[in-house]
Symmetry: C2
Subunit: 356 residues, 2 copies
Amino acid sequence: MTLQTENNHLVIMAGGVGSRFWPMSTPELPKQFVDVLGCGKTLIQMTMERFAEVVPADNVWVVTNACYAAIVREQLPQMPADHILLEPCRRNTAPCIAYVSWRIKALDPKANIVVSPSDHIVMDVAEFRRVVSSSLQFASETDAIVTLGMKATRPETGYGYIQTDLSTPCARNREMYRVDSFREKPDLVTAQKYVAQNNFFWNAGIFVWNVGTIVNALRIYQPQLSEIFEQLLPYYGTEREQELIDERFPQCENISIDYAVLEKADEIFCFPASFGWSDLGTWGSLYDNKPRDAQGNVLIGNVECHDSHNCVVHCTQEKRVIIQGLEGYIVAEHDDALLICRLSEEQQIRKFTEGK
Amino acid sequence: MTLQTENNHLVIMAGGVGSRFWPMSTPELPKQFVDVLGCGKTLIQMTMERFAEVVPADNVWVVTNACYAAIVREQLPQMPADHILLEPCRRNTAPCIAYVSWRIKALDPKANIVVSPSDHIVMDVAEFRRVVSSSLQFASETDAIVTLGMKATRPETGYGYIQTDLSTPCARNREMYRVDSFREKPDLVTAQKYVAQNNFFWNAGIFVWNVGTIVNALRIYQPQLSEIFEQLLPYYGTEREQELIDERFPQCENISIDYAVLEKADEIFCFPASFGWSDLGTWGSLYDNKPRDAQGNVLIGNVECHDSHNCVVHCTQEKRVIIQGLEGYIVAEHDDALLICRLSEEQQIRKFTEGK
């Protein structure tokens, strides 16, 4: 079957600063722009690649902070440069999605959109493509908002959860289920309860909808926010767009799309999926998601280990690194910074780097 | 008393490669050329400074490998550039001392010479100057070979020892004692025996003699070696000097001055001294010789420690370093290399870097 893809659009949200991954990730070059896995590609490059055959390169959009424009142009030369939308300040996901939705609508009112973070990893790309294609097809035929739900394999307290009604699959796509509720990051006891049930899924922040659906939902649930981007309709794609965005965007409320729309709307579906997903939010998740050597080490860079176990080492290729006698540490070296920290204490990293 | 210093000469031996201090010390920039203590001066700069008021800058000589000529000129601009003698290859201390001795003799037959390593540290510089001045005075009046003996405060197996006859001080300088024998680096049991007696001192490799004494001793005990430098007498200070040294120096036997002369000669005196000396040969000795913070850490560079104790960290100022949860480690970062190693395992460092 040849899929119709010309109305499929990909929105990559790339405004994060990745502070928990310091010093590999810095405000100057956040982790989505870094070769975190040491595979020769940055996370945002792997993200775009993952959607090949599902979304044409001409329909790829990146929303990021103005200061990363040049980096995106350099790392994703295949996508149109004028599809890089620049936020003058950080305002969470709802303003970001509102901006790009109106921008796409002005160009392609029939657009079906998949929204994706820029810094996640996926092991089974073929299955990922199947799930996203199926969701885009579903979104093109309905007014549904689709979220991908990741099978919760452990009581993770760092993710939001989607409570799903598994009793009745959707008639039109029997892999889709109605969402009962979104749950914020739970405490450990609650997370354990969620995992014990089988109808809770991790919210991966991957959303699928057609452009009319998301624009209408924003109009209903976020009229003020919508007004801002509605008013800019005559200017999208013109020379004045950036100037007006720079003026209006800071007025947007700092609010996530989850709060702004998903928790309020009715027609929300979850597509439970398993394609080896990680948000790669922490050094521990990198450790969990890369093959380890016989000593349990994840080594990225020119690293030589002696008497060391269960470490994750991330250094640039230019550096010769010799490690001796370390058990369970993060060692990360990047340009002008070096971090050595117990993996078990990695929640302190953010604290170390605050206010610097 | 104003001391006569115009015939005092200082020879700094700076040909070492400091492999036990990797990666702070590299073959490209060995530790004598590095600001090891983080005080803004390199070890060779501190060495030259230590002899101020005892030896005029115009009488300072450095013998080093040809590849370090530019570094010495840059780091010691006060000394005459043509006093930097360049060995085309490494041949231990006897050829080095023979070369510089004939070279000085050609210029100043009345020279009194103190020979010093370039990479040691001294805490009490005033006492050091007193001891060296006194030794130079003694050497100017006698045909004695003087070695400085460091009070052995622990059974160190990394140093050679000087066995001294403490029964009768020298009549001319009552701080000087005859040397009975030189002992090579002992095993631990032997070292403990030495320390238990009070007539064994560490051989710091600091020698004092007048130029006639050392030249004569070399002629007697190392006639072949002496012949090489004797033949070059017409060329010292001329354009042909380097060319002839490059040709002849490789023919010299690889032998230390201790073996070549000191163990054979009669008129050897030891000046037992205490001025807070360390050869700074290992990370452990740096740890022992720098003030520690309340957590027992020696931190050189822009280093921030959390829950860490008894570490020695040496990084460049440009690097922001954050350490968490380390106990008793060396962390050393330098240009293109990073080492993390237990202090207790530092003897492995040489092995790590062999053949690279």
